[in-house]
């Protein structure tokens, strides 16, 4: 009998191709997702070395990072961005890879598109040259971000050299209060353990609060695992997972479906398996969260006050907080609630799915966006956009004074012209509040779609519970 294993260990064991002494294990990759920013140098490497893509049938590409969202007309972006997208088309054509280009009805943010098309399935190893690949962990897949050299390794061999990761159990029990969302769970986790707290581990999210989340909410939680330093985060598959996948374009059908579900049911962590680390959170104590600083670990419940560097003893930590508050131009000891804002961004691979847009629309409906605020709603994919339009969400946003855009990463990382001006404040549903992330000099408060929408209406950082 084998020892009890975690889901992470099971997926790992299923994918070891070879493990020679003195080298890391060679791990097979079931699905490789590509986008235009982190792949061109990898394709060039293939050309330089005369290599082919080993498994184009396990590789898929989309355009998301550099893409314009005002319209999908390439003439609206700069020449370098245009060239990068053209290069993506050429690379995919030359190497026989399916590409969901801007003209495709399946185009979208890589981590929205994959699950939507049924490509993301339990037990898989999934990689992408993108740190938010952990999103796919919501399905019980081992999914993680890789660098461009590794993109080249996977293209050429469908494998990666890897050291096994330890499993870190993040257990969230109990029920969330109204106004508290999946985003608040993950922001609370990161605030608790810090942005390096998960380094070297894979998170396994467990507990009744996680079980009761929808697939889209689980994706939000897993998405930000990297913001606590974990390369991957996952949730064991269950009926919620199977229901989501069933019937999607790439989902197994008929007899294959029954066999797949039977395999997937073997994945959850065995009783008695041990974890390298554990964290317990009581969901009922969580409030809407908001970040005040310049990394995702600098977050707090919305009713709290901005922390005071004077209370910190470690000299580097103290100066880092001072530096963050200086950049954000915030006073220690004061609440963030009521702080004026300029922009609200609802989008990104964290919170751009249909349920996120519905949540934001539920707050916006019958209200107006504050005249001091520019609100951008950027669907995660063409399919999300289509669904939002079918439900009339686009009208709700537009009538309230918000912009409703084409699919892409947009203002999450401000590569495509959607950006903050220096000194502006945003409430953003994205994943990073690093200095300049949303535009040089821009200042980001990360929050849930509910909090973002509430803040758009009032023009200040707002506790959504006051509008429910």
């Amino acid at each position: 009998m084998t020892n009890p294993r975690t889901i992470v260990e099971k997926i790992w064991d299923n994918h070891v191709v070879a493990h020679q002494p003195g080298a890391p294990a060679l791990i097979y990759i079931d699905l490789h997702l590509c986008h235009e920013v982190t792949s061109p140098q990898a394709f060039q490497m293939l050309r330089d070395r005369g290599l082919k893509v080993r498994r184009p049938d396990l590789t898929i590409a989309t355009m998301d990072h550099s893409t314009p969202t005002i319209s999908h007309d390439l003439n609206v972006i700069d020449e370098i961005g245009k060239k990068q997208l053209a290069q993506m088309e050429k690379n995919c054509a030359d190497f026989g890879i399916r590409l969901y280009a801007l003209s495709s009805s399946k185009q979208g943010i890589v981590h929205v598109m994959g699950p939507e098309q049924g490509l993301t399935q339990p037990g898989m190893t999934i990689v992408c040259g993108d740190s938010h690949t952990a999103t796919h962990g919501a399905f019980g897949a081992l999914a993680f971000g890789i660098g461009t050299s590794q993109v080249g390794h996977v293209l050429a061999t469908q494998c990666l050299l890897q050291q096994p990761s330890k499993t870190y159990a993040i257990r969230v029990e109990g029920a969330l209060k109204p106004g508290v969302a999946a985003k608040d769970i993950i922001l609370a986790v990161i605030a608790k353990i810090g942005i390096g707290g998960g380094t070297g581990t894979v998170f396994e999210y467990q507990g009744s609060a996680i079980r009761s989340l929808s697939m889209e909410e689980r994706m939000t939680v897993c998405n930000m695992s990297i913001e606590a330093g974990a390369r991957a985060g996952l949730v064991a598959p269950d009926d919620t997972t199977y229901q989501y996948i069933n019937g999607r374009p790439h989902a197994p059908k008929g007899k294959d479906w029954d066999e797949a579900v039977a395999r997937w049911k073997q994945l959850p962590t065995d009783e008695g398996a041990t974890y390298a680390k554990e964290l317990n959170i009581d969901a009922s104590t969580l409030e809407p969260m908001v970040t005040f600083g310049t990394n995702p670990g600098m977050g707090m419940p919305i009713s709290s006050a901005v922390p005071d560097p004077a209370n910190i003893s470690d000299p580097i930590e103290k100066s880092d907080l001072q530096k963050a508050l200086k950049y954000m131009d915030l006073q220690p000891g004061k609440p963030l609630k009521g702080h004026p804002i300029n922009v609200v961004f609802v989008g990104s691979c964290t919170n751009s799915r249909i349920s996120d847009l519905r949540a934001a629309a539920s707050v916006i409906k019958g209200r107006k966006v504050s005249p001091n605020v520019r609100m951008l709603v950027v669907p995660g994919s063409q399919e999300v956009k289509k669904q939002a339009v079918a439900e009339g969400l686009d009208k709700i946003f537009r009538e309230a004074g918000a912009e409703f855009r084409e699919a892409g990463c947009s203002m999450c990382l401000a590569m495509n012209g959607d950006m903050l001006q220096p000194g502006e404040y945003s409430v953003s549903t994205s994943n990073r509040n690093f200095e300049g992330r949303q535009g040089p000099g821009g200042r980001t408060f990360l929050a849930s779609p509910l909090t973002a929408a509430a803040s758009a209406v009032t023009g200040v950082v707002t506790d959504v519970r006051s509008l429910l």
């Binding site: 890391p24 140098q41 898989m124 061999t157 050299l161 580097i316 990382l413 990073r432």
Partner: protein, 191 residues
């Protein structure tokens, strides 16, 4: 690229959790080559006069000493590309983010983790000279004290011999083919 020994002055950047967006902002990521990233290194901080890389004595330094958890955030390999193009061959800290660590080793940039007391000495030794010996995994502090540092043994051999990991992986073709013969594909993206 081959690395063996580095002997250089250090530049100290005493900030924890420096993310890859600071190392190289996203707007530099629209390129399709690796060229020109050195000038974007720490771009948004280099406008500040007192930024450590702007000191006259910092020019030519090959070793960067930083705070904890260097390289967190985005997986962009453009970060080690920018650092090496600028002239750095090693970064010394108390810890590195996982993806950055792996990316650095593939680009001849040594991510060196030292104990806290050695790190403290380095933080207070801006522009002093330090020696790094990859083969013996030793770093000689400005005081002359020698500390050991860990490094992935496979990556170390690749760096010492100037070979890359892909060559090794391609040699595993028979094992990969054997694995593929047994496995069931979950998806076919071309269908």
């Amino acid at each position: 690229m081959k690395i063996d020994k580095i002997e250089s002055k250090i530049v100290v950047l005493p900030i924890d959790n420096i993310d890859t967006d600071q190392i190289i902002p996203a707007r530099y990521l629209k390129i399709t080559s690796k060229e020109g990233l050195g000038e974007g290194l720490f771009h948004d901080w280099r406008g500040q006069k007192d930024f450590p890389l702007n000191q006259p004595g910092a020019k030519g330094a090959e070793i960067l000493v930083t705070g904890d958890n260097f390289g967190c955030g985005s997986s962009r390999e453009h970060a080690p590309w920018a650092l090496t193009q600028y002239g750095f061959n090693a970064v010394v800290s108390t810890s590195f983010a996982d993806i950055f660590n792996g990316n650095s080793l593939k680009n001849g940039l040594l991510p060196i983790v030292v104990p806290k007391d050695a790190h403290e000495e380095l933080l207070s030794s801006n522009l002093a000279h330090v020696k790094i010996d990859l083969a013996s995994q030793e770093l000689t502090l400005p005081s002359g004290r020698v500390v050991k540092f860990p490094i992935d043994s496979f990556a170390k051999q690749c760096l010492l011999n100037g070979v890359d990991e892909l060559g090794y992986m391609l040699q595993q073709e028979p094992a990969i083919a054997a694995f593929e013969a047994k496995r069931v594909d979950s998806v076919n993206t071309l269908q």
